[in-house]
């Protein structure tokens, strides 16, 4: 793992489906920190299935390292499934909020135009400040910082990346597989004896 070549490193999006369990965030985090791997972005929130959480983790590593990390994460008792994908294999977004003085916005038509060009949308408009929101890739949200800086940007925050896997069939079907109770030992032995030309399962 340590011999990872810098040239082969790229961004990977790791998607982890887990039970909603206290301490699991720590267990997943230390899989990275133990190997001195920096997590560039981490989002965790409830998935479309009740009681199941989805982590989106972004790291910069080689595929070999990422595949080993994925196996280590999947080994955790409360982890249901891990996927990893390159940026090409996902659609991703980050959200950003920008707080700017309202008088500047109101006075300068230019600012309004710039905001529109950058796809920003006002979330809150108060007498003293206005909060705009935009979503996009890192460069896009970064770009708006540069745009707003000369006009007295007061505060900025960006969310972690969330990513949808282009070729995934979703997790609902997978979950049903996990829900299926595994057959007991007697059953599995019979299964292997009776259907040896198929996949041996237990």
């Amino acid at each position: 793992m340590s011999n990872a070549n810098h040239i082969d490193r790229k961004e990977f999006n790791i998607t982890v489906y887990t039970e909603n369990q206290i301490g699991l965030l720590n267990r997943i985090a230390i899989i990275f920190s133990r190997r001195k791997i920096n997590v560039d972005s981490l989002n965790t929130s409830p998935s479309e299935i009740e009681g199941i959480h989805r982590f989106s983790i972004v790291i910069h590593e080689t595929e070999e390292v990422v595949s080993k990390l994925a196996k280590q994460i999947e080994k955790q008792v409360e982890v249901l499934k891990v996927y990893y994908n390159t940026n090409e294999e996902v659609i991703w977004q980050e959200m950003a909020l920008y707080k700017v003085p309202t008088d500047v916005i109101a006075e300068k038509a230019l600012v309004e135009r710039l905001l529109r060009e950058n796809g920003a949308r006002a979330v809150v408009i108060r007498k003293d400040y206005t909060v705009f929101e935009t979503t996009g890739h890192r460069e896009e949200t970064d770009n708006l910082i540069k745009v707003l800086q000369p006009f007295g940007l007061i505060e900025f925050v960006r969310s972690a990346r969330i990513a949808i896997i282009k070729h995934s069939e979703g997790f609902n079907r997978k979950l049903r597989e996990f829900e299926r109770t595994e057959p007991g030992h007697e059953v599995s032995e019979n299964e292997y004896l009776n259907s040896r030309d198929k996949v041996f399962s237990m």
């Binding site: 080993k68 008792v77 249901l80 996990f178 595994e182 237990m202």
Partner: protein, 577 residues
Amino acid sequence: MLTKENRAPELLEDVQTKSGAEALILSLLEEKVDTIFGYPGGAIMPVYDALYDYQDKVNHVLVRHEQGGIHAGQGYARSSGKVGVVFATSGPGATNLVTGLADAMIDSTPLVCITGQVFAHLLGTDAFQEADVVSITAPVTKWNYQVTEASEIPEVLAKAFYIAKSGRPGPVLVDITKNAQLQKFDFKGYTPCQHIRSYRPKPIVRKEYIEQAAELINQAQKPFVLWGQGVMLGSAEQEFKAFVEKAGIPSAWTIMGAGALPSDHYLNVGMLGMHGNYGPNVLTNECDVLIAIGMRFDDRVTGRLDKYAKQAKIIHLDIDPAEIGKNVETTVPVWGDCKETLPLLTELVQQKKHSAWLEKFRMYEAEEIAAVIQDELHPASEELTMGEVFQQLNTLTNGDAIIVSDVGQHQMVACRYAKLNHTRSNITSGGLGTMGFALPAAIGAKFGAPNRTVVAVAGDGGFQMTLQELGTIMQSGADVKMIILNNQFLGMVRQWQELFHDRRYSFVDITSPDFVKVASGYGIAGKSISKREDLQSALREMLQHPGSFLLEVMVTKENNVFPMVPQGCSVSEIRLK
């Protein structure tokens, strides 16, 4: 945090059937736990109070330090194949378990550790003896959980045992707040856990890989089997023997796998790794198909990875998918429990002998005997060697004893020379290399296998790390035979300083107390010898002594363990001197 749910127990008015603590003990009994190693303290007192009423149903061994407790639990698990159970209190009691947890984690030993914790409403307040045990132990447990409600206890215990023993075994820790131990609840009985939806203990066996593996094995001219502890953890010793015998493949072991195939089996060609046998190391880089079974290609086994078995096709049988391809690139991964995969493989492999190839191992063995073993077992010098102690011990026990070794030179000598007729007979700290392991682990091993002779072997350094457990022997009456191989040095470090640090012996010169007197203080019989003519009779006296016995053997001071694969070298660059 103080919440309504986490009120202090004194405030609870609804008194129901069982306390959490009693439910815990009842759950343990349901899991057929017969021995608990533990040490009481403030935050686990309700559990000990409940235990008071069940002393006739379960044996509690009071250790002298929690680290001793968990190593005893490990020894118990390793000798019996059952789950070791350990109790400790909160804070320092729990943190003292960490070394043993790390040891059990890396050596895949099934344990359920119960720690007390401060009242739930005090969590996070830096309460007396509060430590964040769940966070501290996360990296060194297969699973851990904090219980804050009594009603959770039966279910969490059931999960704990299931996780600890299923799949690739490992240590589990359950941290129980004091209020949960005291709280009364309607205990509806105990149901063992058999399924957790997010947890797949065994991967599905894929037939195509079994077929591919069999094909490679059948075509191989120089196949070589490396086996590890997985064979024992899967209770697959018979399946393993049937496989290697049918395929006629020379087989070598990692120290964790020692004993799964008897030492004198004709296909057992010896030990792998840094201080392993000559043939198995050299021929790793000559075989054409390498079949790894329940082992994980530890760096002490592989030496330099980029020069490790590069010529060979690698078949790896393992229950843990994360092990496959972790260190060594695998040609055919055979996922699954070797208890199930080995018979499938045996059926498909051809009956073969590979006599010429096996002969090659014998040739290297002869070379090793001449260069190393002869002098170790029959030294010309007057001073005793560690090897001859095992040579004599083998004669007297006939290889039927459980050998529990500590860490260092004597450990390598024990693994190299102790004769093992039976499985689960070589108990040592393999992955973590924990000095101080042997004495407490031997106590546990004796409780796990009461009908077997248990011999703890330690160096003068390691023995002093957990020497207080002599008190546990004294009180529990555990019949543990102890051998201290005293070379008056921290021998393995000294060896490295000699070989790689220009003999700059930095802090390896260690003085020891009069071990026989120390033992005597604990009411344990003992003897110290330094002459060859006393060796056999002293060992016999130790083995025949009713009850525990400590034998100190003064051995030559500056002996080195050879062969040796120096760090950073390939296994085929193994040195005989």
